[in-house]
């Protein structure tokens, strides 16, 4: 067992699950989408991105790309949240909540691709 592989898989999966946890629930209802979960998803996604640095293989490059997409989407969601809560003062209306959550939904898709890549890599290794 390679500890590095464990840590790598752990962070990729955790990024996907946290992202999913934030995303799941009625799109327009702010009480179903905890901001702490968004924060945790961003942090874990960033760590997963850094873990993917410096891998020169083709699959490593795709891994890094998916992570960067997820980061972009999640940061966009966080910025949107900050704008509606603090800058415009509208607060988390149904429309704004739906925007934030759907941005994180895009990130979730990228994270799922990342997990699929991880599984594919593992399966190829088995053979």
């Amino acid at each position: 067992m390679n500890l590095e592989k464990v840590v790598f898989g752990f962070f990729i999966l955790l990024a996907a699950t946290l992202n999913f946890g934030f995303f799941i629930g009625d799109l327009g209802r702010p009480e179903y989408h905890n901001v702490y979960e968004l924060f945790a998803a961003i942090v874990v996604n960033l760590v997963a991105t850094v873990l993917k640095f410096g891998d020169r293989t083709q699959i490593g490059a795709v891994h890094l790309a998916t992570s960067l997409v997820a980061d972009l989407q999640l940061v966009a969601a966080a910025v949107l949240w900050a704008v509606v809560v603090h800058v415009s003062g509208e607060g988390m209306t149904a429309v704004n909540t739906a925007s934030v959550v759907s941005l994180s939904g895009g990130a979730l898709f990228a994270n799922v691709v990342s997990v699929v890549l991880l599984i594919a890599e593992t399966v190829m290794l088995r053979r």
């Binding site: 924060f39 942090v43 850094v50 873990l51 640095f53 410096g54 949240w81 900050a82 603090h86």
Partner: protein, 562 residues
Amino acid sequence: MSQINSIVFIILRRMRAPLIVLIAIYAIAVCGLTLIAGVDAAGKPAPPLSFFHAFYFVSYTATTIGFGEIPTAFSDAQRLWVTLAIYLTVIGWSYSIVTLLALLQDKGFQSALITARFARRVRALREPFYLICGCGETGGLVCHALDRLGQRFVVLESREQRVQELDLEDFKTDTPALAADAAQPANLLLAGLRHPQCRGVLALTDDDSCNLNIAIAVRLLHPEIPVLARTDRQQVAANMASFGADHIINPFEIFADSLALALRAPASLRLCEILTGLAGSELPEVHRPPLGAWIVCGYGRFGRAVASRLQQAEGQALTILETRVPDDAGHRVVTGNGNDANCLRMAGVAEAVGIVAGTSSDSNNLAIAMTARELNPALYVVMRQNQAANALLFEAFPDDYTLVPSQVVAQACVAILTAPLLERFLQLVRQQSNDWAATLAERLLALCGARVPQVWSVRLDTAGAPALEQALRHGEAIGLGVLTGDGGISSLPLLIERADRQLLLLPDGATRLQAGDHLLFAGRRTARSEQMLLLNNVNALDQALGKPQAGSWFGRWLARRA
């Protein structure tokens, strides 16, 4: 591209740990601030900071900017947490910066950086250049000669110290140099072996097998360009010739050939030396080795080459002096040390006219020469100098003819590169008589005022001579004289190679030029630039041909209409 990539990847890989630590510290600090209750102006508990305010606060505190407690004054619990966060973030940043600095100091990273810069400079070259592999004594001489001609070159050299010395040398042209093993094909590619402007490769390292590797790599990776390879060994030379290395330069063979030529026709050798010398330098001294009995000390690679040439010359009695008896000599052999007076006497030094001190040790060669001179002051002494560092000693001894391998190789390389037709011409010179060569040398020296003339070749095609080629294509009859004496240009045409490989030696001014001709000239440096003008500029050519014309395209169109 791959070098830049590898630098980015090295940085990213090494920065992984500090970046993760930094992210974790930021996350802890921000998260903590969003959980700890604040206090309002009246001293009552207030809700904690939101994520936005917490991130803003940590951002300016962690980078030690420190605006104060924004948006409202903090509660003591918050201050306790912030104290902890400040220390944590400072540690995180210090760790990152220290790692980055260590990376910049790293030997492997530095060499990746230098390699990337070298590759970029080579890629950016937009002029024709030569790739010089091995920049020791020989390579250094070639570099300086090419630099004086304004020719670009790229250097691969295995010793790092030598590359640093190259940086200090005052080259006119910008010279990319890299400390790397030229025997590795990857390094050759890095140095521009497949670059469209690469005009040729010079394999000049001290190591024969390395030169062989370079020659093979050039033949396989870029077969169109010529490769000049240096070797001291017959077997390696034969090996190189077998796969078609263009020019194999063996200093011992070249020198032995020169010595043989000097015995037979000293004026021919002098002509060859004048034509292959560095333009503008002092004239080479005249070598007149006498015919008669010769002694060759040292029967190694050099001794064998010299002995075989001396044997071919007529009227030579040859004695070999060598510590071990060679089995394949076929000459009179005396066993013994050349610097021993008795051995020299036994070899017949008193009756000999010349001696060749050709062992692989400089001190031995000097000792042989000095002992032999004492025994027979009239002796003609030929010496082999192995180390350039001993040049002072060899200059101090009044010998008659010295072989300096690095100089011989460098001169041969530069002659081949500057005028490709010169080699052919020199072969023809060797077939001509001594008097013929003496006359030609006199004419050349009269032209160039007792200095080594510039030798250059011109090809009459669209690239080499656009104006002249166009005139020839329009069917104009142009004599060679236009390019030399007639137009007031003082240069001497030596050879014309016609498109059908026919050779014209010393053509006269009435010779009609043909498109596709390859011409060899010798003359002053100014003569060359004047000739260039005629070859490239339509107006200058028309004036030289005695038909002034309107220079512009429109004017010429009008003239045609009229």
